[in-house]
Subunit: 666 residues, 2 copies
């Protein structure tokens, strides 16, 4: 599949005079770097050359160890005050100096400088930036057969026909994600099938090594998702018991072999005892037993073991109202706090359920005190429009990062936990990737903003959603204020819009099992998956407060009290936490049923507004991309209408309450 | 896949002394038969030999043109008063005489005589029987890849790996269905895919010819389901317009070629303009135009063209309450009455919708006066338990056949129309087959009763459902009164039971789109398939009377008035025809909501009762088959509970009416 260059297409229009900076490029201090770092520095040089060639239409040469009075100077030195990956950019008239104390800092500084040049932000001044989150990771759910679980952008570009493969696109991918600061990538699905199981023990080792090498050129560490039962599945042992010495030995040898070939391997990612995956529970062992055994195989190589906390009973009986899936993550892990080795990180989904359009933050972030944690986001829009409908997720991620966990002495926002400002420095942010082999990488062109934005946010959570959207639009489409304003407006509307026309007030899950799109209001209502809204003629929702499943008690005070009281619980989450009658009056002043009707009508109007904005940009965006987005918007309007009509009809049939405004409910 | 012999396993226990009849077998008059008929007579002889060998454990010889005073005499002669396929059986002491005037009559007489012998019904007397329905047909929905659409008994035994194949099972199949009088079989799915399209024009002609030959040995005519757009699909023409002379010529040549190789071919079966299949509507032609064009290609060879009437809009908007799929079959065909050629037969599903557990009879049977008709049943239990749950359908078929159409002067039951007692003699009964390559042919052992029963009923609609069940049980399991009584009781309970625990009062469709099992109460509620129940807090159902879609007007008086009035409309169909509130009092004296609760609780009790009956037979049924049925009954109990609990919960949530008896509703 051919591919485009997304926000790295330097041929897209750039600020006037931008090319002047790129006529001279000088690099200093590179000779002190290690071999591995030299490869990263080479990538940085190449990036500048590429920008120069594409913007100026002619090759530049790179001057070594020379100081110039104009153009770009790249300086590797012991600059104080910069963390790994940090950089300074100084702009003085015609000269831009990029300084860093390590190779990845140089690479990130170069990408940043090119962005500043392309967007015309080159007035005199100085920027110093260091990455906030130590691990900035993408998890790909790619399967060896080339399919992608929850992939909405075509097929895998890592796997084809049960094998890894490496081509030009591998490097383009590494450039793309490194340009926004990604430094860790797991390339295979956490649901590890038969063939992928072999990746840890030699299957396609040559290609795996090649991919790791290309990633390394861009400062990215490769991770492998593994099958907890690998030694059994591969026939080496008759158990996968983590406390069995043969099992531990098998993993030690597997890790030793991997690091022999791939010294820069990041480590392993594990989904265990979850949705049918094997895990330590089969042997009456704890998740700490399981994770630590694997971590000890990695420790001699400084590898990390990332353990997912998405553990719940997926064979629940819908009749049983006492069980609550929203409790599961906290209940399964809170008792293990402090039992995990130093090189284990728990990967915790942002919410207690599963990447719904609106969820509260997982209470586990406020609960664990002595455990390394990463937050897991999903930019693959599994439950948020599947890259058919626009849903810019950065504003949601920022809300999550800003959530006050009260974990520790003060308020303590979640962002602190994952950026090393809490008690633990081994931490980070991860997103399930939204990429595939579609030419534009993300299926929907505007979904590129989520890929871009996630990286930027993990690097610098202080950025606003609007800043990220504006920058992405300028780099992707053109450096034009009207386009940037229009695209930013569309993106900023998109999450609230998607929420309005899908499920109301935090209740979620009005989708079909299997493909996870909707509307399918009772799709999960009688399923074993633990995701119910229990709508009846009087109201809807699951009570999670003191009179219900007590899930709210998992939060620290004062969050617990805030959510417990219907008076203080925010409207947008009120049906996540409480069962309400249709005539309950929200803080907005509307009843629940009025809110359902109004929000669904508004959602469709909002899509129409987005369409209007996009169409107004027809002359300023190239035809191919304009048309692609336009087509998807037409589809989104149809989708939004279908959600609106089905949900309004469903709740009208249940409640019997006519719409105050007399709008059409079928 | 290995196979069993179902009701033709002569080794199963038989009545005492049965074998004595089979010690001498004499045949007379066979020399006058044509070559094709000689093959059928040979099959009849072989069947007697097989019975003798299996029952007596030793070979018998067949005496030719000899009269014996004991044993079996088979006489082909010009016996008066017998239609094609008819026979007489005379029993006098130790002698049984089978007489018929054509070869198929001999074959059916022989199978019948073996049944009488095995079941001990050999007291002196005479039986004379002629087949009621001229065409007694099975439609197989088998695809070339070996899958079976709506198949619940394994894979196809006609197709494998995109090819027809012939093996021992082909002949066993022919024996099996001929033994109950089937004389027509369409072997490929009415949804004709690319490869199957070629069957009319030479694809796998060798195998097709072999199959036709084997069928012919048992008096069965082979039919082929065809793709209306075949000449286009195969690249011979650029249109499939039935009035285009190139198209007609192509079909003529295709038919000529087929009959050259297979002189005994029955003809074609066509699904056109239905669920995405091509048809005459694409060319603004009528179904009469399309059918007649094909019929004229078959006419020189005395072939029949069977045209399905399952034509409706499957892209309906659920918001549009004015459209009614139940009207479609009648509306599409009533205007064409009298326009079809003599060798065209319309194949009309028993109900106006699609093989639901309860439907009224299709009003088209009462509407068409000058058109050949067949009734299409479905023994593949697509909507009636999928051969996981027991559902003996013969009682349903008998109700359909007994329906008074008021088509003509008197009451006129539907059975008359399909057995040639109406204005048209070209007619018949067809069932979508429930067979596959499972060892027992039908997945669920008890589903064999539907295959057996359909054939017996088409041959002799005067048989009672109990007689058929009793006979089938004796032949299949053992000739034991306790077993026969128990199995008959289970079978006779099974349709009402399935109806009780699934959808109430004729409303249907509480299943998932795609796989068509349930419970999935709103599975079709917002779909484009035209199948809605529109349940709300007040009631449920689609009004099809004068204040609604007026579908009831398609019936002749007095049926129309009977259904129109809620006072006279039978309870079991009342929600098919009318929208009712939950507190409406049925003729049973219960409210609708009470009926819903009660019937669902009863349905589960009934399954428990069936389980009790089956377990009481443990010592009398062989272990393999006992265990298979027992396992499926366990599954049925789980299924029934799930239906009960979901439907009761759904209607409790909507109605808010508690169960009078305080039973558990979740």
């Amino acid at each position: 599949m051919s591919y485009e260059f997304a926000w790295l297409d330097y041929r897209n229009s750039v600020a006037a005079g931008a090319g002047d900076y790129l006529k001279k490029i000088a690099c200093t201090g590179f000779e002190i770097a290690s071999e591995a770092d030299k490869n990263i520095l080479f990538s940085a040089e190449q990036e500048l050359m590429r920008a120069a060639k594409e913007i100026n239409g002619q090759q530049s040469t790179v001057l070594k160890d020379e100081v110039t009075s104009e153009g770009i100077s790249v300086v590797l030195s012991d600059a104080p005050g910069l963390k790994t990956g940090g950089f300074k950019i100084m702009i003085t008239g015609p000269k831009i100096t990029i300084e860093a104390s390590d190779a990845s800092g140089i690479l990130y500084g170069v990408f940043r400088a090119i962005t500043l040049i392309r967007t015309g932000k080159t007035s005199d001044g100085q920027i110093a930036e260091s990455p906030a989150s130590p691990i900035r990771m993408l998890d790909h759910w790619d399967n060896p057969d080339g399919s992608i679980e929850r992939g909405y952008s075509g097929r895998s570009f890592f796997f084809k026909n049960d094998h890894l493969y490496v081509d030009d696109r591998t490097r383009e991918y590494a450039r793309l994600v490194a340009s926004v600061g990604i430094n860790a990538v797991a390339i295979n699905n956490v649901n590890v099938n038969d063939i992928a199981t072999g990746l840890v023990s030699g299957y396609d080792r040559k290609e795996l090594t090649e991919i790791a090498k290309i990633f390394g050129d861009y400062g990215i560490k490769l991770y492998i998702s593994l099958n907890f039962a690998s030694p059994m599945s591969l026939g080496a042992t008759d158990t996968a018991d983590p406390l069995d010495s043969k099992v531990a030995q098998w993993w030690k040898e597997a890790a030793d072999g991997l690091y022999r070939d791939i010294p820069e391997l990041g480590g392993f990612l594990v989904k265990a005892d979850s949705e049918g995956r094997p895990g330590p529970f089969s042997y009456d062992r704890t998740h700490a037993d399981g994770a630590n055994m694997l971590a000890r195989a990695l420790a001699p190589h400084n590898g990390l073991l990332i353990w997912r906390c998405f553990v719940y009973n997926c064979q629940q009986d819908w009749r049983d109202h006492t069980m609550d899936r929203a409790r599961a993550c906290y209940d399964n892990f809170i008792g293990l706090d402090g039992q995990f080795d130093d090189n284990v990180i728990l990967q915790i989904k942002n919410g207690p359920m599963d990447f719904q359009v609106r969820e509260p933050v997982s209470p586990l972030f406020g609960g664990l005190k002595k455990t390394n944690m990463m937050v897991e986001f999903q930019i693959a829009q599994e439950y948020t429009g599947q890259q058919r409908d626009i849903c810019y997720l950065i504003p949601m991620f920022k809300q999550v990062l800003d959530f006050k966990t009260y974990n520790g002495d003060g308020e303590g926002v979640l962002c602190d936990i994952v950026t090393g400002k809490g008690s633990k420095q081994t931490c980070g942010m991860v997103a399930v990737s939204n990429t595939g082999d579609d030419p534009n990488w993300t299926g929907h062109d505007l979904a590129g903003a989520n890929l871009y934005g996630f990286g930027r946010l993990a690097f610098n959570p202080a950025l606003t959603s609007e800043e990220i959207a504006d920058e992405w639009s300028r780099l992707t489409f053109c450096n034009d204020d009207t386009v940037a304003d229009g695209v930013t407006k569309m993106l900023m509307m998109s999450w609230p819009t998607y929420e309005k026309y899908t499920s109301p007030l935090g209740i979620g899950w009005m989708i079909s099992p299997g493909h996870h799109y909707g509307p399918d209001i009772e799709g999960y209502e009688f399923s074993p998956w633990g995701t119910y809204h229990r709508s009846d003629r009087n109201g809807l929702g699951v009570e999670r407060g003191k009179t219900g499943t007590k899930m709210i008690d998992q939060y620290n005070e004062p969050v617990r009290s805030l959510y417990e009281s219907i008076e203080t619980c925010p409207d947008e989450l009120v049906l996540f936490f409480h069962r309400l009658s249709y005539d309950h009056v929200l803080k907005s002043g509307k009843t629940v049923i009025e809110h359902i009707y109004d929000s669904h009508f508004e959602g469709v109007q909002d899509v129409n507004e987005m369409i209007g904005i996009w169409r107004s940009l027809a002359d300023k965006v190239d035809g191919v991309r304009f048309g692609r987005v336009n087509d998807r918007l037409d589809g989104q309007l149809m989708n939004a209408r279908e959600w609106r009509d089905r949900i309004n009809t469903y709740y009208y049939r249940h409640s019997g309450v006519p719409d105050k405004q007399g709008r059409k409910i079928y």
